[in-house]
């Protein structure tokens, strides 16, 4: 009976109910999109790193695993690494952030092709002139680029020479020496990729490099890829915690206002229930069940909206902020939203439960 009353109460005021559900839905969607975005970007980085074909990565001392900038590593280490026992190939690369999350990567293309098997060109081909640039299909789609299109980056006009399949190294690639020269980083690199003779050599070579280059960040590729996680990105975990906190506050405020209004609107109905002998707990129970139901429906709406947000992101900005659907976060987001909503119902519920039945019955 009480569930019927709860459902009928929500149905009786459809606009308020829909707005509450939508507000909680947007809250859940924000949460899922932020997490999906973080995970999507990390997954994208992982995929591109694993497409390189290297076995070991060497990064300079003090660098972060997922650093996008700086070229503090001397190029001389490439030749040194290549000369070490059981090392088949070493390739240096340089990352240069140009705007927001967009990074241009410079690489020695012939050496990289030997290591990875080369890019798969969907159209066009590798750079042939000093201002030729290669972009992946996501970046091309997002920026409406084709082979021969002009692209202005780093105050330089580039010509798109080729569009590559995504998932290998980077979205925007130029020859290493061109990028070094443009950024005044001649002889400098961000990292070095190393390929060993055979898989069994990975651990011995890793141990040797760590011994010879103390303080350097040296990882096997498997280890390097596994480090693309939320906890290894500086500030990301804190950022997600802040978003969760904001979601709880939003859920709290939405339901607080909604339930506060509902209690005022339904003063007389609460008086009727009290005249019939409903206890304060009975009244609270009704309001909490209503809030819970709105929270559940809002969470379901939010999960649906997260598909919509992903669709919009992947349609309009697939290269900048790749995002994924995160089903393992659905219960967390729902619990966050419902928890915030229930907290928002506490004060209105308390007010309703404490209402004087005579005053409530005379409320117009």
């Amino acid at each position: 009976m009480i569930n019927k009353l709860v459902v009928e109460n929500l149905r009786f005021r459809p606009v308020r109910t829909m707005l509450s559900i939508l507000a909680i839905g947007v809250e859940v969607m924000m949460l899922l999109t932020i997490v999906g975005l973080s995970r999507g970007m990390l997954a994208d980085s992982r995929e591109r790193a694993s497409g390189i074909g290297a076995d070991i990565v060497i990064r300079p001392p003090g660098s972060t695993v997922i650093g996008m900038s700086s070229a503090p590593l001397s190029e001389k280490y490439v030749a040194w690494a290549a000369a070490q026992p059981h090392v088949a190939l070493a390739v240096g690369s340089m990352n240069y952030p140009v705007s927001g999350l967009t990074v241009v990567t410079g690489i020695d293309l012939p050496q990289f092709n030997r290591m990875s098997g080369g890019f798969r060109y969907l159209s066009g081909g590798p750079p042939r002139a000093p201002r030729d640039i290669v972009v992946d299909s996501y970046y091309a789609q997002q920026n409406d680029l084709h082979v021969g299109s002009n692209l202005k980056l780093m105050n330089t006009n580039w010509r798109v020479s080729g569009i590559i399949e995504p998932g290998k190294l980077a979205r925007i690639v130029v020859p290493l020496n061109v990028l070094q020269e443009l950024t005044g980083s001649e002889g400098k690199l961000t990292q070095i990729y190393v390929k060993v003779d055979k898989p069994a050599d990975i651990n011995p070579v890793l141990a040797h490099l760590k011994k010879e280059l103390p303080g350097f960040q040296i990882f096997s590729m498997r280890e390097f890829i596994s480090m693309f996680s939320v906890s290894n990105v500086p500030g990301l975990q804190a950022f997600i915690a802040v978003v969760i906190g904001l979601s709880v506050v939003v859920g709290f405020l939405v339901v607080f206002l909604s339930m506060y209004t509902a209690v005022l609107e339904r003063t007389r109905e609460i008086g009727i229930l009290k005249a019939l002998g409903a206890s304060p707990f009975y009244i609270l129970n009704i309001l909490f069940r209503e809030t819970f139901l709105v929270g559940v429906l809002g969470s379901a709406a939010g999960i649906g909206l997260s598909y919509l947000s992903r669709f919009l992101i992947m349609t309009f900005v697939p290269a900048t902020i790749p995002t994924i659907i995160v089903p393992d976060w659905w219960p967390i987001a729902a619990a966050t939203a419902i928890g915030g909503a229930l907290m928002g119902a506490v004060y209105p519920g308390w007010r309703a439960a404490r209402q004087d039945p005579i005053e409530a019955l005379s409320y117009e």
Binding site: M1, K4, G271, L273, L276, A278, Y282
Partner: protein
């Protein structure tokens, strides 16, 4: 009708605080109502009849004095006990019907049972009462789909569904036209005569008051004549 009183009020006083002023709503009311009696309470606005109604219904406590309903002293019970009392001992019928707008007529009745934790067994007496009320074919309608007379009949059904010791009706025909008023009053009288329901009804209208066995008049917080 039994001679045993079901309601006994002795020197009941109620003082409300309105701003900085004490309002003496009841100034020493003595009243006795026998089981099965149909008593009407008449008096002008401000005479204290609604306050007495609220005290007898367990909606508020008296400031002083004793009120015994079916042997329980309402002046000495807690709010929680007062809530319990309203579940089964008292049934209310209000001038404005006071049905829950979100529920059907049947559910308005059912929720009173749910609140009183009725165990769901078949209730022949209530079924007879529903027949008297003549609303069997309107039970699945929401209050807004019912006429005033039908809404008041549903409210009466809700008030008696838990077989209260007393039925308190506050101006039950105040919002009805004369035909519906007569029908509702006839039903209330039938409930009293056929089912032995004790009824205390408040009214302004002398013609309505005449439906009761006994008329009690109130003025300025006191009973002035019986």
């Amino acid at each position: 009708m039994s001679n045993a009183p079901i309601i006994e009020a002795r020197d009941v006083r109620k003082i409300y605080r309105v701003g900085d002023v004490d309002v003496h709503a009841l100034r020493g009311v003595d009243l006795s109502v026998r089981r099965g009696e149909f008593l009407t309470l008449v008096g002008p606005s401000g005479s204290g009849k609604s306050t007495l109604f609220h005290i007898l219904g367990g909606l508020t406590a008296p400031t002083s004095g004793h009120v015994l309903v079916d042997g329980r002293d309402l002046s000495r019970i807690s709010d929680a006990e007062r809530t319990e009392l309203r579940k089964r001992m008292v049934g209310f019928v209000f001038q404005k019907y006071n049905l829950l707008p979100t529920l059907s007529a049947a559910d308005n009745i059912a929720i009173a049972r749910h609140i009183a934790r009725w165990n769901g067994e078949r209730d022949e007496q209530f079924e007879r009462a529903l027949e008297l009320l003549g609303i069997a074919d309107r039970l699945h309608h929401k209050p807004r789909e019912l006429s005033g007379g039908e809404q008041q009949r549903v409210a009466i059904a809700r008030a008696i569904v838990n077989h209260p010791a007393i039925l308190l009706a506050d101006e039950p025909t105040g919002n009805l036209d004369s035909a519906n008023s007569q029908a509702v009053l006839a039903i209330i009288r039938d409930l009293n005569e056929r089912l032995g329901q004790t009824i205390l009804m408040i009214t302004h209208d002398a013609a309505v008051a005449a439906y009761g066995h006994r008329i009690v008049r109130m003025l300025d917080g006191r009973i002035c004549s019986e």
